[in-house]
Symmetry: C2
Subunit: 434 residues, 2 copies
């Protein structure tokens, strides 16, 4: 049953009236900064925000042992964050409304800023210029993380609350392993649907790739550069291996043919040679080199199978090289080890989001294929619930001058509030319960 | 006038009798270790060894300002050593002998060890197995540095000393800039000839390349890897530039044609891509990458001219790349900026060394072309004196399990002692002068 025009207008107004406060809090959250492993302070802030709103709030640890036994968990390396996952639960008083339970999930972790001098403002400035709010992690996805909270606030400000259980989650490790959301899954948090407001440009993610991270290390045969032709240059060996991986990338992209949601994309599978380090001395042939890579995989393809293909591609290069044959490259899986997902069309959750989006934006909801990792996959693959990834307009994600559209944050907050109202149903807010 | 057979035998015996002590001291010097910038402790030890022998001993600083005005000096970077140069002077009492003055020079600095687990013993073990003495810097060239001192000791032990001035120098920075020896040149130390016992396998260096060090840094256009094809991957940009440099290397090697001492070498000019670093995050297209390189140049070719060729090669690549065109690579000259040299045959100094070598080894002195940097070039190019580079048999220089032949150290110490006796002449040692 669609929301009444009066209720829709009332919720829309409530988001608008509170939006200055929402924007200011997003700016504050951006200004916290915090790279991988440094999210404890901002998670404490989120914890205190949840508790002050009366949510039953818990901190979860990402337990390496539990994760190691969990299919689809990312690989825990030394760089893995130890920051807590924060989960707030808002139970309904009435259980007779017919509403459905919901998870609102958002990640709090951000990727590195890169050289600061290439930013127009400080990477964690949170400055607003025109319609753009600038800062690392603003778009991806602290704005969405905060929007979840302020969507619930809007309902409360009109004297309402969800008539079904809502679980709100702020997670680390979405940019590296997915283990923050995986910890909520291991802890048993589930619902009838999940919404994650990643910066999807107000579109719904229909299909999403999986992602694998890996590191390759090779040793060289170091000699004085005066005998360079007798040595084995580890940096040049790594480049041969990259050549083999690029061939694999090409083969993987050829498999887009006939694949729904992906065939029309130009280059859905990106292999990213992302980090490199090697050598100690300009006049010595380098004795070691290592690279960190990321590759995508089509939904329905298992991470284990792509990992095996990667191993084979590297081995193929190694067997053609007189040095690598005897000193095989070492492969470490050090992050994402994740399969992708497809959101089956026609779910009731999607219909409710379509209506909410239409009301908030006066336009029809479009679907997209996302060639990047999303935590939504955990709910789709392991909880088999409708997993909706839908959020604000952003630009330069992972790049310099990352930014998110301010008006889009407001529209998305409105859409989330309308979605909650319709999906969960509403009941009167009773101040005595907090 | 050749040394008498009796004096030759007496000097040879003196080296042999003292050789256990010499070997033990070389082991001690290897065990000091000390990477670039960490040579102060070992130089203090050398200083105390020189003073205990009665040499008038001085510590020199490598002054960046003076170096910056000195043609042929290496470029001073943040990694430049601040360790002192140690110079000992042994003046002759008699100036009537007709002997000639001499510099005995040796570098004390060593190159990095690389991963320690690839060494059979600890890199600074100083272990002797069979005829091999193991350790980083043993061959290159702490054995030679110490041999200079023990050659003089051998003369003293038979009651003799050089009848002309001998300057003994222990220098840092030979592996990176040449600025240790350059500091002695700036300070005005010179002589009628110089001998440097680098590990030349008991051969005389006839011709030697120059060396340039440089770093290239590029910025990328970072984006989320989901838009990898729109980004500019700094690591891949660097690789394009390496391709351009490899072409330059090929062109430079083609110029060996008709070039005395180099035409017969297979690949005299090596461009070494030695160190690489770039990128911050596996799922971001890397925004930066830098490489450190070393390239050789034929003697007679100016470092400035090769630097200009390198700049042109990089610029040529940059103009073909849509991103690098707007974000040109940054080149830093951060070490050697040195021309090579040729030792003109027929000098009296070479004749004296030939005789000394024959006496010490019972074989004829062979000449070699050395495709690596040598401090000898400073004496050859800027002091125009016969510059003899001749030292023991070594293996795996700059590599794992670097080693030097023990019997060869003894032979070379003998040859140096005989060379001093003949070149400088001898006078009776008078204990009251120390």
């Amino acid at each position: 049953m669609p929301l009444s025009p009066e209720l829709t207008a009332s919720i829309t107004d409530a988001v608008a009236k509170n939006f200055d406060k929402e924007l200011a809090f997003i700016q504050k959250v951006i200004q916290y900064g915090g790279q991988r492993g440094e999210e404890a302070a901002i998670q404490d802030e989120i914890y205190s925000q949840y508790t002050s709103r009366g949510y039953a709030t818990t901190k979860l640890n990402m337990d390496p042992d539990a994760l190691s036994e969990q299919p689809g968990a990312g690989k825990v390396s030394a760089k893995h964050s130890k920051a807590p996952v924060v989960v707030g639960v808002l139970e309904a008083k009435s259980s007779t409304s017919g509403g459905k339970s919901l998870i609102l999930n958002g990640h709090i972790d951000v990727v590195p800023t890169g050289p600061e001098e290439l930013w127009t403002h400080h990477p964690y400035s949170g400055i607003v210029e025109g319609d753009w709010l600038y800062g690392r992690g603003g778009a991806d996805m602290r704005a969405g993380n905060v929007a979840n909270m302020f969507a619930l606030d809007a309902l409360r400000s009109i004297g309402k609350r969800p008539a079904s259980k809502v679980i709100i989650e702020s997670v680390p490790e979405e940019e590296s392993t997915g283990n923050g959301t995986m910890a909520t899954h291991i802890a048993g948090y589930t619902a009838d649907a999940v919404l994650i407001p990643e910066p999807t440009n107000e579109q719904l993610v229909r299909a999403n790739v999986g992602v694998i991270w890996f590191q390759i290390a090779v040793a060289g045969r170091p000699v004085h550069v005066l005998k360079a032709t007798e040595g084995s240059n580890a940096i040049e060996s790594i480049w041969k291996i990259i050549g083999g991986l690029k061939e694999l990338e090409k083969e993987m992209n050829e498999q887009k043919k006939g694949r729904l949601h992906f065939e029309e994309l130009d280059h859905p599978i990106n292999l990213n040679v992302a980090m490199i380090e090697g050598g100690d001395w300009a006049s010595s042939v380098p004795a070691w080199c290592k690279i960190d890579c990321r590759v995508a995989l089509f939904p329905g393809v298992r991470a284990e199978d792509v990992a095996a293909q990667i191993e084979q591609a590297i081995q193929k290069v190694a067997t053609t090289d007189s040095f690598l044959r005897d000193a095989p490259p070492k492969i470490t899986w050090n992050g994402f080890f994740a399969e992708g997902y497809v959101l089956e069309p026609g779910s009731q959750a999607e219909d409710v989001l379509k209506a909410a989006h239409k009301q908030a934006t006066d336009s029809d909801l479009q679907s997209i294929t996302m060639p990047a990792y999303l935590d939504t996959r955990i709910f789709s693959l392991f909880q088999k619930i409708p997993a909706l990834c839908y959020g604000p307009i952003g630009e330069s994600l992972h790049g310099f001058d990352e930014r998110v559209s301010v008006i889009s944050i407001q529209r998305v907050t409105t859409a989330i509030a309308l979605f909650i109202a319709e999906w969960c149903g509403l009941e009167d807010y009773d101040a005595t319960t907090t």
